[in-house]
Amino acid sequence: MDRVLVEARGLSRNLAGRPVLSSVSFSLRAGRSLVVMGANGAGKSTLLQVLGGILGYQGGVLMRFGTPACAEGIPDGRIGYLGHKSLMYPNLTLAENLQLYGRLWRIVNVAQRIDTVVRRVDLAWWQHEPLKRYSQGMRQRAAWARLLLIDAQLWLLDEPWAGLDPDGRQITAGLLRDHLARGGGAVVTTHRWEDAQRLGHMAAVLESGRLAHWRELAGTLAAEEQG
């Protein structure tokens, strides 16, 4: 459980001559989660995208799964990213979208896996509807289904509870808990301190491009793990 999944040292990235990230440093071990908080426009989403290799970075060191990641931003199949958008085709059904992702990630036994994940996010009845007919909350659940399907070790969740109803929050919180219990890691951004306390092992605030106000959390999650 002591394996380091992702480690950043002095990570920086400029946009339009202005530093968005300047000297972000942290390390995340397997089975742990880091909650990143911060004001709008503080660079939370940018941080996740840099960690995921969607964006490049300009300074510092980024290690993923023990190997240095290239500064240009190279994707890695072991990373699961949940962004503001669902990353799925609105004109395909959820099942078709998941099939596509399953094929891209070369998942064996795709049909069975899809069946499992749509059940877990409680969308089994809707899986053969095109995504464009989904409500905002259902789309978020669908995005969660995609995340579960590709079976990544490191989750990068950008406000994963946005638009979800209480039921959805509970389901997805459980999913995150299971993921961490199985030895996965997660970096999560959120605005709500309650979420951070409930689900994070560590929390930090992203402020003028760096992580500050670190706090170790012994929230409900850790308690449940022990109990």
Partner: protein
């Protein structure tokens, strides 16, 4: 390779469902033929070169229509991010898009050729092996230039307006070479120098996206 094929099949399936790209291009090319047919209304009085010109103009504009929409399906929900994050990286994503664009352009070109030949009925114009070859090469030029520029301008604001303006000068050489080669083939002249020029241009713009694909989408 498997990733290219998966993505290619996916785009074809979306086309079958939405008919928003290949079908649109084809419809546009047909309309264009129709308009020229009305405007010129010349049963056999037209020259072979004029038919070649009309054919390539229609093809060019239909191709532009497709190029502008090439990444349109992905932009709404940021699907490109998901595709790029999949194992195998970004190169297969670019190659799959190029293949999709080529298939649609080639289909539009071959159907437009047959229709133009049938509608204008100018002696000498026919669908020969050489003409089909020229069309396939022209489609390749459109597809490779289009993939490069469409991918590049994907995240720019106002790319729907920017892209046609930007693409046109890059496609003019393709259109000129294609027009000349088609005209020469129908006149019984020598199309080969133009076909070679077309091949060289295609090659340059096929290699360029493959060299620069890393820089196509980020930021």
């Amino acid at each position: 390779m498997q990733k290219i094929w998966t993505l290619f099949v996916k785009d074809m399936r979306l086309e079958a469902r939405q008919k928003d790209m290949g079908f649109l291009m084809l419809a546009f090319a047909m309309m264009e033929t129709l308009v020229f047919g009305f405007a010129l209304d010349s049963g056999g009085r037209m020259q072979t070169d004029e038919v070649a010109g009309i054919l390539w103009m229609g093809f060019l504009f239909a191709g532009m229509l497709g190029i502008v929409r090439l990444f349109g399906r992905e932009t709404a929900e940021d699907v490109m991010v998901g595709m790029a994050m999949a194992p195998g990286g970004r190169l297969p994503v670019v190659m799959a898009k190029m293949a999709v664009a080529w298939v649609f352009c080639a289909a539009t070109a071959s159907i437009a050729t047959s229709v133009d030949v049938a509608v204008f009925q100018v002696p000498g114009t026919r669908v020969s092996v050489i003409v089909v070859l020229v069309m396939l090469l022209g489609a390749l030029g459109l597809a490779s230039v289009g993939t490069l520029l469409s991918g590049l301008s994907l995240n720019l604001s106002g790319h729907e307006v920017l892209l046609p303006v930007l693409t046109m000068p890059f496609l003019v050489p393709v259109a000129i070479a294609g027009m000349e080669a088609t005209g020469a083939a129908w006149r019984g002249g020598r199309p080969w120098p133009w076909i070679h020029a077309l091949m060289a241009y295609d090659l340059i713009f096929m290699v360029l996206p493959l060299l620069l694909y890393e820089f196509l989408w980020e930021v």
